[in-house]
Amino acid sequence: MDDNETMGAMLARRGFGRRGLLKFAIAMTSSLALPPSVAPVMAASLARARRQSVIWLSFQECTGCLETLLRSPSPTISSLIFDFISLDYQETLMAAAGSAAEQTLREAVAAGKGEYLLAIDGSIPVRDGGVYSMTGGRSNVSMLETIAADAKAVLAIGTCAAFGGIPKAYPNPTGAVAVEDLVAGKPVVNIPGCPPVPEVLSGVLAYFISFGALPALDDRRRPLAYFGTTIHDQCYRRPFYDQGKFAKSFDDDGARQGWCLFELGCKGPTTHNACASLKWNGGTSFPVESGHGCIGCSEPDFWDAGSFYTPLAGATLPGWRNAAIAASVGLVGGAAAALSGRRKTAPKPEKTP
C-alpha cells in the first residue's frame, strides 16, 4: 500500500464506497457516543486521512491482545482500520528479526518523530533494573522511556499494559507496572481487557485519525464511550437480577432459562467494558451470554480480587478458629471485668437480729 494513499482511496480499492464509509462513521460515532451530526464530518476526515504511523511494542504479555485484534471474523471497515494504519514496528508480525528489526525500530522512530502513535501490550517489569523482559539487550523500561518521548500519544492495549494485569498479580515477582506508571507528559489511553474488545481500539484509532485527538477519557484514562458503563448496566440478564432470579449452578433450571449469574460469581456489576454492547466474534455473544459470569478482566488487579466464583456479596471470613479465639478473649475479659465489679459493689453482710 502506498503511504500517501488516502483512506478513501484505499477503501474504494477494497470495494467499500462512500456509502460504506458513511455507514462506518455512523456506527463509530454512535459507539463513541458522539452526536449523529459528527458522522459526515468523520466520514469526510477519514476519506481524506493519510496513513497513521503506529509503533507497537510488546512487553510482558501473552500475545492474546494482538491475536484478538488480528483475528477479525470478516473484512469489515472496522478491521480495515487496522490495515490502514502503518504498523511500522511489531515484532510478532514483521518479517525482520534480530539487528534488522532493531534497525527498523530506529528508522520508524526517527521518521515519525512526534507524530507516531505508540501502542503497548504487556506490563513493564521494573524490579532488578528491568532484567526480566529485554529486547535486543534493552530493558522494556528503557525502550518505553525513549520511544514514548517522541510519540504523539500512547495506547496501553490490554489489561497488562493498562493496569499491570496478570504479571502484576501477587506476588508480582518481576515488579510489573502499567504503562501510565512510567510515561509522563504524554497522553495515555488505557484500553483494558484480557483481551480488549477489538472494536474499542478501532473506535479510538478512527477518532484519532479523523480528529487528530483522543476521545474523552474517564478517571482511569479509558475511553469514556466504551468504559462509561458496567457490563451489568447493559446485560440482557439484568431483568432477572432485578427480579431476584439467580442461577444456582451452571447447569440448573435457572441457568438454562437465562437467569442472572450473580450468585455464580459474576463480576459484571463492578466491571467497566463494552462486551455486553459490542460483543465478541463479530457480535455473536459475550461471556455472560455464553453462560459464564463476567470475571472482571478489564478491571485493575482482577486476578487478585478473590475467586471468580465467589459472589460479589461474599466476603473473606475470619474462620471458625479465629472466631473461637475472639469469643474466648471476650468471655475471659468480660468475666474478669464482671468479677472485679462484683467485688467493688459487694453487699454488706446482713445483720441477724
Partner: protein, 219 residues
Amino acid sequence: MTMLEIARGPAMQVSILIMVGGIGWRLAGILLLRRRPQRAAPRHGFVRRICGGLSAILSRFIPRRTFRRGTAVSVVLSAVFHLGLAVVLFGGAPHILLIRQITGLTWPGLPKGIVVMASGLTLASMIALLVRRMTHPVLRLLSTVDDYLSWLVVFLPVFTGILLSGETIGGYATLLSLHILSVELLLVWLPFGKLMHGLLVFAGRGAMGVTFARKGAAT
C-alpha cells in the same frame, strides 16, 4: 488493594472478630451479674415458669392498653422499621448469599423492587423516629450518645444499600464498598451499645417472664 477488597477482606474479618469478642464480653458480664437471692418459696413449678417466659416473649409485642395512646406513634414507627429491616436483611438476595456463605443456610430471595421498597420504608421510619427523639421533651432528656450512635450505624447501611440498589451516585464498586464498610461499623458497635438487644431481646424477655412466673406475677 482496592477499597472493595479491603471492605470484603481484612475490614470484614476485623469487624467480625471485634463483634464476636464483644458479644463474649457482654455475655460474660450478664451471666456473672450479681443476683439477689430468692427467699420466697416458688409459686409455680418448672413447666409453668417456662410457659411464663414464653408468654412474656410474645405479650411484649403488643403494647399495654393503658399506654396505647401515648406510645402509638413510636410503636407503629418501630414496627415499620423492624419489619422493613427484616425484609431487607432476610429477603435481599446478596444478604442471603452472605448468610449462606457463613452458615450454609439459604432460601429464595425477594424481587429487588420489594426489597428497595422495604428499605425506603425503613429509612423513612428511622428518620421519623430520630425527629421524634430530638423533639419530644422527655425522649430528648432520656437520650444518650448510645441512642444516637446506634441510630447512625443502622441508618448508614440502609442508606448506602438504597444508593447501591439504584446505582445512583458513584459506581457499583464504590457504593458496594461503602455499604459493606457501613455494615462493618454496625458489627463493631453492635455488642457495646443498645443494638445488642437484637441478640438479647428474647432471652431478656424470657428470663423476666420466668422470674415473674416463679413469683406468681402475670406475664
